[in-house]
Symmetry: C4
Subunit: 182 residues, 4 copies
């Protein structure tokens, strides 16, 4: 039930430049996404991202870009309906997809439910997701729970990927956690 | 698990003129019901409504009336106990009934549980329901959850019915969403 | 899943004179207990009560006394551990026990779990229960939910027992509801 | 479903001197841990504790020390990954492990999930756990619930261990409860 780095993959959904300023609590959401990305990188977890209609909504937030290994452009709100993403994921079968992103109740939710219905284990990072309205984010968390999709926080993921204080990545992850807390 | 327009039907429960002014957060509740109705219409989802004792509680809120295809008058709090509604629903077997309405803990709740016990898939729109007391609405959401009835928000429904940004209804639904947000 | 008067029995747990003043939100808790008792009486639902160590904690709140058909004194926090209560309940097998009372996380909780483990269907009225600390009441609601015990509000019970506006008790129950709201 | 003293064991996770001052609501968390420890002692429930890297994070909070029968030092965040703790627990198979501690979303959570995956019945005391961020504690409570781990409050444990007001430990436990409330 605990996450491990060897069985996780991180998918960052639509953290886009013209969408984020409309998100409730955007600063915290991005801060948590950064911790996720940095900890994933330190622990060897692959990191992918999606962008919805980047011509209109802009590209992924610049602070996240250096950590991302591949970006998928999409027109469906549900990224799992895009064939190139499904093909790229196929060799990673067995990994749990850790999801953060926006809006919590549209693209993030539809992607979580979409991957879940394709048989992927899915976990959503509740403090790294956001919607314009707080009530819509609340409704998304409720629906994910009803669908049996587990929720975690960004720090939970970081400390489960590390496992113990003698792990090689421990000190660097701890530094990232403390940086995020300031 | 995601909604589709082809497998949904919208039932608006007791949004009546003399009841709504007593509802906690009535303005938001009606605003979300209007988004639901407009998005349903744009996506071809059938729209029905119920009225409890309209002689006393008044008719359905005027803003909703143009979208509604048929109104059912009832005396049971549980609309599913009314034979004419059950007969009218019968040809739509297989559709998921999307429910909004008032009061959340009386007629809306009883109708949701009533339809559920008759074997209909039921989903309740949590931001389009209301009670006089906020605590009664909270208790209704809790009981619906315990009964295994899924909860969504109005925007979730709209964006799942549309599915992707190249859909014919996308721009009109986006306009309705933005109108509702203002 | 909806309650009916014919299959319900109401058990009021430890609404005692020297305990109630220490309860968080005591006025609302008692007000909701009164609505429950009055609606139960109007709909023919049997009404029982328990008292924990009345020599020290006082008798049941005077406003509730006229509605109660039988009082059980107990020393176990879990009323279901008392033999006289179990014998008195035996002829009512098949009824769902509707529970309100104090403290939510001690005697009410233990009685709910105790009856549940003896095979009785149990439902707890969330706005008619209270603890000294709000956090303890919250923990009680969470644990009841985890144990699969359903939660309702007092008005839910009243309107489910009545069922429809042509029922003989409808007007009197509506009067009780409005009195409780003022 | 109710706890009994004869089938419980209390494990206090990382209530350490240099960690506690960073915990949100630390005073309440420690106060509830003290009630747990005192009630466990009065009812004959064994009491153990863990410490994470005590060279850096300090020893267990002094007020708790007198109640603890054995302390386990650990380097894994999940105490159940430490072999000496697993060996020490082995003779107590069948007991339910009652857990309090910090941080709620790291060592406490990982220990709860770790013991759970080894087949131990686990219950977490929600008002005796804490994290630096309240949102991380909330995420921990949600994940424990999703994993099927039951949550209780410290007073619930105390009154279930005692069972009734004629129990030998009743008066002393009541005194401890009242002391904690002041």
């Amino acid at each position: 039930m605990l996450l491990t780095a060897e069985t996780s993959a991180l998918l960052l959904v639509d953290y886009q430049g013209k969408l984020m300023p409309m998100i409730d609590g955007a600063e915290t959401v991005l801060n948590r996404a950064l911790l996720l990305a940095e900890a994933a990188h330190l622990c060897g977890v692959p990191i992918w991202a999606t962008e919805q209609y980047p011509q209109g909504l802009g590209g992924t937030a610049p602070a996240l870009v250096p950590w991302i290994e591949r970006v998928f452009t999409k027109t469906h709100f549900n990224a799992a309906a895009e064939l190139d993403l499904r093909e790229a994921l196929a060799p990673w079968r067995g990994r749990r997809i850790i999801l953060g992103g926006c809006e919590a109740h549209v693209c993030l939710l539809q992607t979580a439910l979409g991957l879940h219905s394709l048989g992927w284990p899915v976990t959503v990072v509740s403090d790294a997701i956001g919607s314009r309205r707080a009530s819509d984010k609340g409704a998304a968390l409720h629906r994910l729970t009803q669908a049996g999709i587990s929720l975690i926080s960004a720090e939970m993921a970081a400390f489960e990927w590390v496992q113990h204080r003698d792990a090689p990545a421990f000190k660097a992850v701890l530094t990232a956690v403390k940086k995020g807390a300031s």
